[in-house]
Symmetry: C4
Subunit: 286 residues, 4 copies
């Protein structure tokens, strides 16, 4: 083959390693990546603890540089080996990857830019992409489809809870007033949701008998109302479980997909027997 063919070949292999998980190397890359991400998040956590940061500042900074360099290499490799790099750069993961990489470089130009390091927590979402590998266990996808199926009901329910909270919050604001901490209507609504969801911080609590009576009603409401989302999700799970057992009326059709990503648009979720990308139509690597 000529030079260009070799070049493409080399890129194609890198693409397989970075974007896919069907080859041993691809699997290793994913596992190493997960650990580096977890380590980088742990690092940010430790840096945020004042005592640790003061004592081990040098070590933490060195490790931060190691992580940053690894992320930089990964980011550049991702851009090089994809056919349409701009699609990746401006994708959700592309932006997260970029923001996770630059803070340390920026810190020499812009003071306070190290705050951006916190964006790295979002890189944890990659774990879900790699969880894709084990989705044939059916658990995650079953969970997701059950939640999606009850999303309309959950929306109506959340809407009702919010209107209820506004009404009860306004009532409590009028009944309790400033003394007990109900300083404004938004504050009262915040308190109502804290009570309705049975969280109950206690930073604000009613002190008048009328306020305590209304609070009691709100608590009993919240106690009963929690039954609604639970009931809805349980029924959805039950449906899925029965469908799987009887095999007669599948709630959803599952198709066996692999972890290959399209080399030009990087869409994923192609069927095992696919030869072209279902999104942009370009030829898939075998």
């Amino acid at each position: 083959m000529n030079k260009k063919g070799e070049n493409t070949d080399w890129k194609q292999k890198l693409h397989e390693i970075i974007y896919e998980a069907d080859t041993p190397m691809g699997k290793w890359f994913d596992i190493v990546l997960i650990f580096v991400i977890l380590f980088s998040v742990l690092l940010i956590m430790l840096e945020s603890v004042k005592q640790i940061d003061e004592e081990y500042h040098r070590t933490l900074l060195t490790l931060e540089w190691v992580v940053t360099i690894l992320f930089t290499i990964e980011y550049i490799a991702r851009i090089i080996c994809i056919q349409k790099p701009f699609k990746y750069i401006f994708s959700f993961y592309g932006i997260i990857d970029f923001l996770s990489t630059i803070p340390l470089y920026l810190s020499y130009v812009l003071a306070g830019s190290q705050v951006l390091l916190a964006v790295r927590a979002f890189r944890l979402l990659r774990v879900f992409r790699i969880l894709k590998l084990v989705r044939f266990l059916g658990e995650a996808s079953q969970l997701k489809s059950a939640l999606r199926a009850s999303s309309a009901k959950i929306t109506v329910f959340l809407f009702a809870v919010l209107i209820l909270s506004v009404m009860l919050g306004t009532l409590m604001y009028l009944v309790e007033g400033d003394e007990a901490g109900f300083t404004s209507i938004p504050m009262s609504i915040y308190w109502t949701i804290v009570t309705l969801t049975t969280v109950g911080y206690g930073d604000i609590a009613p002190i008048t008998p009328q306020g305590q009576f209304i609070a009691t009603v709100i608590m009993l409401l919240g106690y009963g109302v929690i039954a609604v989302p639970t009931g809805m999700v349980t029924v959805e799970f039950g449906k899925r479980s029965r469908a799987l057992k009887t095999g007669e009326d599948k709630v959803e059709k599952f198709v066996h997909v692999n972890t290959q990503a399209c080399p030009s648009c990087s869409k994923e979720g192609h069927r095992d027997d696919a030869s072209h990308c279902y999104n942009c139509g370009s030829l898939l690597n075998e």
Copy 2:
């Protein structure tokens, strides 16, 4: 047609726009109304925050006048275009609409009447009337029917919880006494419900070993007792879900109704093929 006919015609059109949602104009009216109501509620919230009110008092007052004038126009239009205006004026929504409109006018006559503005939060209930438009999704009505079906069980349950709270609250009052905040029996009952529903503010907490022991029992009770409403609602949802799937034994019959309101008594929920109001018998607009 003669003058009167034209007049009626004009009123009828207004009625269709304001009270119904079958025409494009009617739909637009509903959507605009929702936004004005949401805006008016947001306005009251902002006014209740002291800092914001101090800084932007003039702007907020102006906007308040805009909302008040819009509500006044709507209120008058509602009275004009209905055949029996007193039925509307003394209906639940009529009173809410009136109370939401007058506070600003009243504030020039009566000091402190701006407190009435809070009634506006109840106008949010109109959102549910307009939700009616999407009820063919079946979600809201299914939710409602499941809750209604288990209402007898829930009443028995709430009653048992209340008696339990009175008994346990009285016990805690005797055991703990004033020091820990259990200053009276109603206060103790309030604390018992706070604990039983797992809200747990912590504004009052037992300090004697005996009190803490009883508190532990109450908590475990509350932890187990929450299973009861959840179980009841789940079973109801399950029944409905199965009925929808098999199609054999519908739990409730659904009939297709439109959003038309009777021009004389303003009852809603007429069947699509109805020609007379099912409530007062007057002829419906086509």
Copy 3:
């Protein structure tokens, strides 16, 4: 009839009114009794509030005397019209009735005996006896039978939760120590149950990182563990619900009983067609 017959006749009628609810008079007696009991409980609540007691002490005392005299009459009537009075006197309800009646009389002899008034809260349990009237709705009895059916499972579950609490509480005592409020192992166990049941007062909260880490694990445990009783009760309700619908395999047999009480042993729950008491065999009033 002779004197004795008339006497018995009069007692029998009183028995029917007080102990049963099949005659209009009997129903009225029950309803009035419920209201007097509710009123007496309300009275104790008001007395326990210092400000109210100081201001209206005279009125409250007068009303307390009215209630006490009514209870005294009821108690004497109950003893007179029953054939075996000692069975009633030493029954659970007999003792509660007695303790609810005497405190005011005792207060002239014994200082501080007014504390006994709190026993009156237990008279509220009579409400359940009268609820018996509506149990043909099936709700209360269905609730009870579902809870009884899962009681074995719930016991195992509660036992596991308790052992877990002891172990985790001891661990937290060692990790946190006195500073954070974990002053003794029982205190730590109390805190563990407060956390595991998601009540979370906040009177005691971990302050060391290790303690907060263990607390996090306990919370997630509690969050997951609550699924267990909910799941058990839901399944029981579901079984009952299905059994009622299909009508094939009833979980429990319901027999139509009336509210008559045996005139000699005052056992209740006789079948409609019963002529003898199922407990002591004496003849029942028609």
Copy 4:
């Protein structure tokens, strides 16, 4: 028989009493052991309460010696009567038993070693081993198998909750900062889990409007998210319950096992008709 036979015979009988529960003596041993363990745990609890320890130090120490001597005898007996003592000594229960026995002896050599007494709480786990006696009720084993069946789903769910907590915790750290108690990212994550699980201590609570808004979202999330484990466990229980009723497709096969322990490796759970240990193959006592 010769000396050695008698010796073995005696050991075998002791083994039956200590390790098994099929003979009356064996049952008695188990019951007494449970009470001694419960008593020893109660003793540690009382010792940890400062006031009680000061007043009754002598009595508590004497009782502690009684328990320690009983545990020592039990420990030695367990080692003597088993064929392969090292298997027991280095087993989980063996180590717990040892650590529960030595603290008092150690306290004469090593100061502060009394802290080890807390390990005794773990001896409560023996209760579960003895619960084995009643597992033919099927409750405990059904509970366990349902939890095991949904463990994959629960793992995915817990994983999602943890990633969500890290992301939301980091967000809150940036939004709230030191003033409100969000001093570091781990602290913020701790708070997020406290909120998401609806525990809500209130030791840390958001004070800025933005923080309170995010807190509201987290609470509603937690309120909805609790439906997921509940739904999963409920469906599992439902499956088991239906399988038991129809008898057609058992989810798990139950085999009747006895409480005999292998005399050489002390494995338990042998079938009633077993003559050899399923683990090490040695002959079982009849």
